[in-house]
Subunit: 258 residues, 2 copies
């Protein structure tokens, strides 16, 4: 299995604090040592950093920890390989372009099969992981269903149906980024927290490190963080329900919870 980390904000924010704890789970405080990756939505495109080394020791991870990149939407993943060898081609997050926008995908879980493909396979996996196959399948459904880009609100209920279909074949927790919108699906476990004023002190679960967010934010800032396991040990993280697909934009949960 793997671990997921997502962040969605109303103003560009760096992910240094959360990533400091998260990256340790890749070989230090946990066993997810088969590569890692992080994608930042910046301006109108995504920038992705990948490495097939454990995030706890990766030179690329060290660079990301030392170089604060501000973003309104971030997806990170540390891998514990189930299907597919340890290689860059199998390293999440995966990316594809559709309708002139990038789609970014990271998966925690294991799928033993995929639904039958209807129509052409426009999106094809580069590596051989079940995760990338599922991502391509999802994008094929989206491309075949809509003649042009729908709104995220229109997409949400259909995405929920496709996610449920895929989850019949195994564990399918995922994060899907599209522009500044973050979709998060829980098949077995996923948690989130929304931080906004009044900001407090947060303390990492994986390192003895705390930050007083009231010192580094403004009153209007709003940040949602989504993770496989809560990253801090003194805040109230909210568990996703099984089968739930939530959508975040501007650091806010959009729409009603199921």
């Amino acid at each position: 299995m793997c671990q997921l980390l997502g962040m969605n904000c109303n103003v560009p924010t760096d992910i240094m604090f959360s990533f400091e704890g998260f990256h340790r789970r890749g070989g230090l405080t946990d066993e997810h040592a088969d590569g890692w990756g992080i994608a930042f939505f910046e301006e109108d495109g995504w920038r992705v950093f990948l490495d097939n080394q454990p995030s706890a020791t990766s030179q690329v991870a060290r660079f990301v920890r030392e170089y604060p990149i501000k973003s309104r939407c971030v997806i990170a993943h540390i891998r514990k390989a189930t299907q597919g060898k340890v290689s860059l081609a199998n390293t999440h997050p995966f990316r594809r372009e559709l309708w002139g926008k990038e789609w970014i995908f990271a998966h925690n879980g294991n799928l033993t099969s995929l639904p039958d493909h209807q129509g052409a396979r426009r999106f094809q996996p580069i590596g051989n992981s079940d995760s990338e196959q599922a991502f391509c399948w999802l994008l094929d459904q989206i491309a075949q269903t809509y003649p042009a880009a729908p709104s995220a609100e229109e997409l949400l209920p259909r995405l929920q149906q496709w996610a449920a279909l895929l989850a019949q074949s195994g564990t399918f927790n995922f994060l899907l980024g599209w522009n500044d919108t973050l979709f998060a699906h829980c098949s077995t476990q996923l948690w989130y927290i929304t931080r906004q004023a009044p900001f407090t002190v947060a303390h990492l679960a994986d390192a003895d490190l705390a930050v007083d967010f009231s010192q580094v934010t403004t009153l209007n800032d709003r940040v949602a963080v989504i993770a496989t396991q809560p990253l801090t040990d003194n805040e109230q993280w909210i568990p996703f329900k099984q089968g739930e697909l939530l959508m975040f934009r501007d650091g806010q949960l959009i729409g009603l919870r199921t």
Copy 2:
């Protein structure tokens, strides 16, 4: 305009020496300071590093200079914006997936128009540069012409025709990476050199730095380097002819020159 750097080898090789000189042209020894990027073919996928900062001062460039990544095919680009604002979405190299393989593209030049699109626009630009539009147009032609992936040898003559068509609208020097194959098209200026045994000492044109390749290579190594301007001042670089499209694999020029 911009500058291009490509490398193609028979064994994974780092590009530290060439990049040391090349990155200085992004704001130090030359004016190409509107962002830069580099793509490495590793195993079965490409890894791309991008920054919208000048390569001479970019933190990401510093990381790439300090962290040797070995690759059999590399494409780098430093940008002097002509069309499209300075942003990550307009930063080369661009990437797309087709038939489960990644295509990587970087352009030096300026195109004032594009040929008419025939059929659907499957690949659409994320930014607003002429370069990414040309790349998407090329991939649309490829996807529409071949029902499945052709060999690079089959693709070469058609690619030459499309490149010539695009070059009617301006300057169109480009590098196109596909797996371990590097296509290089010269519209106005491009040079290459092939290094193989007996290796000699090379001295950078942009910095007082030399390397004795005989000390860091084996007898069987073969490396082709392609650049907008020769990177060394004591070696015999070969100029491309105008309108020429060359293909490199395993550090070797494949096929006859026109």
